[in-house]
């Protein structure tokens, strides 16, 4: 029962991902320092989402996991988003 199903990710790929992540970090910081008003947070969060996606799919090997696990992970994020949105049905209309 060895782990022979697990995919090995090459060092090179990992470095590449890190570079993209650092680049995205750099963009967030520069974007938020020029004032975009309400957009700032949206942009920052979108970039954070992209970064999270990269970490999840590559560093955490999700890309190579079973479809089931990928669906479950997505489900957790969707659930949290739903809870957030529903809570704001209260706060946004008070």
């Amino acid at each position: 029962m060895a782990n022979n199903t697990t995919h090995t990710i090459e060092y090179k790929t990992l470095v590449k991902i890190l570079l993209i992540l650092l680049f995205l970090t750099f963009i967030t910081i520069s974007v938020t320092s020029i004032h975009l008003g309400a957009l700032t947070v949206t942009v920052a969060l979108l970039i954070a989402g992209a970064k999270a996606y990269l970490v999840l799919s590559n560093f955490m090997h999700l890309k190579y996991e079973s479809l089931l696990l990928r669906i479950l992970v997505a489900m957790v994020f969707v659930l949290f988003a739903l809870i957030l949105v529903i809570t704001f049905i209260d706060y946004a209309f008070r």
């Binding site: 089931l68 957790v76 659930l79 739903l82 809870i83 529903i86 809570t87 049905i89 209260d90 706060y91 946004a92 209309f93 008070r94």
Partner: protein, 536 residues
């Protein structure tokens, strides 16, 4: 797996000798069946303390004014009663006791996926329970917030709230680990050839339950931590005097605690779904509908928490949204009820105690559930929110439902767990007494609730007294019935007649193995049926 499959001599899990002897062989057990029993003994102990507290409240409420305790004491009694019953009895209840015992057997596995983690869950369950008891004894006096810990009262009262919430936190951790264990078990440990839709329906219910435990419990965890931080450091999360928002606490609390009521209910429904086909000798009607409705309840159940907050000052949009979803979540429950009853159609019905308990369950659950509809409708909720009506609703659904299902389960599986049989006649008598006592105890509360009697009232205006007296009398009838049942079961466990391996002619896997099962459940590979309820 190198050992030869030489036929192993049968030794039941109760007699099996492992590394540890005596009491340690229990405390250190990793066998899912022993852990199930450990949970059962612990939970029944807490349950009795809880029942005692409930009866004390009923004595106090016999007459207006102070009868046997002060207002302060009453407040801590219902708080402890709620904490004990919710966090230490019904949330672990069915899933940790019968889930642990029968989930692996029903899916043809030797144990759960992580037996040591399972043992660890029980230990921290005990640690959490000890903390809950300590919160009663420490210097500042027992907590008096109600089990809901609503801020800002809970952030300002000077009783042991920190200890009580920390206890709930630890108990939640135990619940998470059990859920995690079950999900992995169901995914990875099913016997070869058993697909998801070949599983019996109790595992299905446990699967849905486990997801709730896993995903909802962390939210209460963090909420309680914030409450503790707020008390310790005067951080203003929830206390308006410090800049916080008390409604936010309610949101966070119910984001967990509404799904938690389905943690109590789904396994109960699962048990009933096992019992009815067995005693009708007829396959369950609408297998897929019942399986999927469990998942549907779990999923939609996450999104309706606001129905506890209709009058809190939420936005009007949120009020109708939550009301709509609350009504929708009732439909899968209705489907289950219809399927159970249709299963009885043209069956060959053997009226034995577990089946009678199942019938009582259905009756009480319909009352509890449909009064839930009255609470879910915004207009009527305004009238009955926070009154005795709510108390009656959840007692009907929690012990009418979960409680009677627990009794049904214990009467159904008792011969398997202990290899002995109880006195059937006495079991039936105690059921009838409990059923009568139960309805006397809680039905009057619906009526005074509608008339406006608020809950958590130590004292009450005189016009409510007759109903309170009937209710108190019912409480004692119920307790007497409970006593008869326990007497019957304890006697049977010690000296009951030896039970056959399959007394009820069940078709699921647990009935294929000897009673009580051996350590690894299946000494021979089990035969997996495509339809777990195949009675031909």
């Amino acid at each position: 797996m190198s050992n030869t499959t030489e036929k192993i001599e049968y030794v039941s899990y109760l007699d099996h000798q492992g590394k540890y002897k005596g009491i340690m062989s229990w405390l250190m057990a990793t066998d899912h069946k022993r852990i199930g029993l450990l949970y059962m003994y612990a939970i029944i102990t807490f349950f009795f303390i809880g029942v005692l507290l409930g009866l004390m409240m009923k004595l106090e409420l016999l007459a207006p004014g102070e009868t046997i305790m002060t207002a302060k004491m009453y407040n801590s009694v219902f708080t402890l009663h709620g904490i004990l019953m919710i966090f230490m009895v019904v949330i672990p209840g069915l899933s940790a006791v019968f889930g642990n015992f029968f989930l692996p057997i029903l899916i043809g596995a030797k144990d759960v996926a992580f037996p040591k983690l399972n043992r660890f869950s029980w230990w921290i369950f005990i640690v959490g329970s000890i903390m809950a008891v300590l919160s009663q004894l420490l210097k500042d006096g027992p907590p008096d917030t109600g089990w809901t810990f609503y801020a800002p009262y809970s952030t300002t009262t000077n009783s042991n709230v920190i200890m009580a919430t920390a206890a709930a936190f630890v108990l939640g951790f135990s619940s998470i680990l059990t859920g995690l264990n079950f999900i992995v078990t169901i995914h990875q440990m099913r016997a070869p050839g058993m697909k998801f839709f070949h599983m019996p329906l109790f595992p299905w219910a446990l699967y849905a339950t486990a997801w709730i435990q896993l995903l909802a419990t962390p939210v209460i965890g963090i909420t309680l931590l914030m409450l503790i931080a707020e008390r310790a450091f005067q951080i203003g999360f929830f206390d308006p005097a410090l800049g916080g928002d008390p409604l936010l606490f309610q949101h966070l609390f119910w984001i967990y605690s509404h799904p938690a009521v389905y943690v109590m209910m789904l396994p109960a429904m699962g048990v009933i779904t096992e019992i009815i086909p067995t005693f009708c000798q007829r396959q369950i009607y609408g297998y897929k509908a019942v399986a999927i409705s469990s998942l549907a309840i779990a999923a939609v159940g996450f999104l309706v928490w606001g129905h506890h907050m209709y009058t809190s000052g939420m936005s009007d949009q949120a009020r109708w949204f939550f009301s709509l979803l609350t009504f929708i979540v009732a439909v899968p429950s209705a489907i289950k009820v219809f399927n159970w009853i249709t299963t009885m159609y043209k069956g060959s019905i053997d009226v034995q105690p577990p089946f009678l308990y199942a019938l009582a369950f259905i009756f009480l659950f319909i009352i509890g559930g449909t009064t839930g509809l009255l609470l879910g409708s915004v207009a009527t909720n305004v009238q009955v929110h926070d009154t005795a009506f709510v108390v009656a609703h959840f007692h009907y659904i929690i012990f009418g439902g979960m409680g009677f299902a627990f009794f049904a389960a214990i009467h159904y599986w008792f011969p398997k767990m202990y290899g002995r049989m109880y006195d059937i006649k006495l079991a039936n008598i105690s059921l009838v007494i409990k059923f009568i006592g139960f309805n006397l105890l809680y039905f009057p509360q619906f009526i005074i609730g509608v008339q406006g009697m608020p809950r958590r009232y130590f004292d009450y205006p005189e016009q409510f007294q007759p109903a309170q007296v009937i209710s108190s009398v019912g409480g004692f009838i119920l307790a007497f019935g409970l006593f008869l049942m326990v007497y019957n079961l304890v006697k049977a466990a010690k000296s009951g007649a030896v039970a056959p391996a399959n007394p009820w002619k069940g078709s699921t896997l647990e009935w294929q193995i000897p009673s009580p099962p051996s350590l690894e459940n299946f000494d021979e590979a089990p035969i997996i049926k495509v339809n777990p309820y195949d009675y031909k």
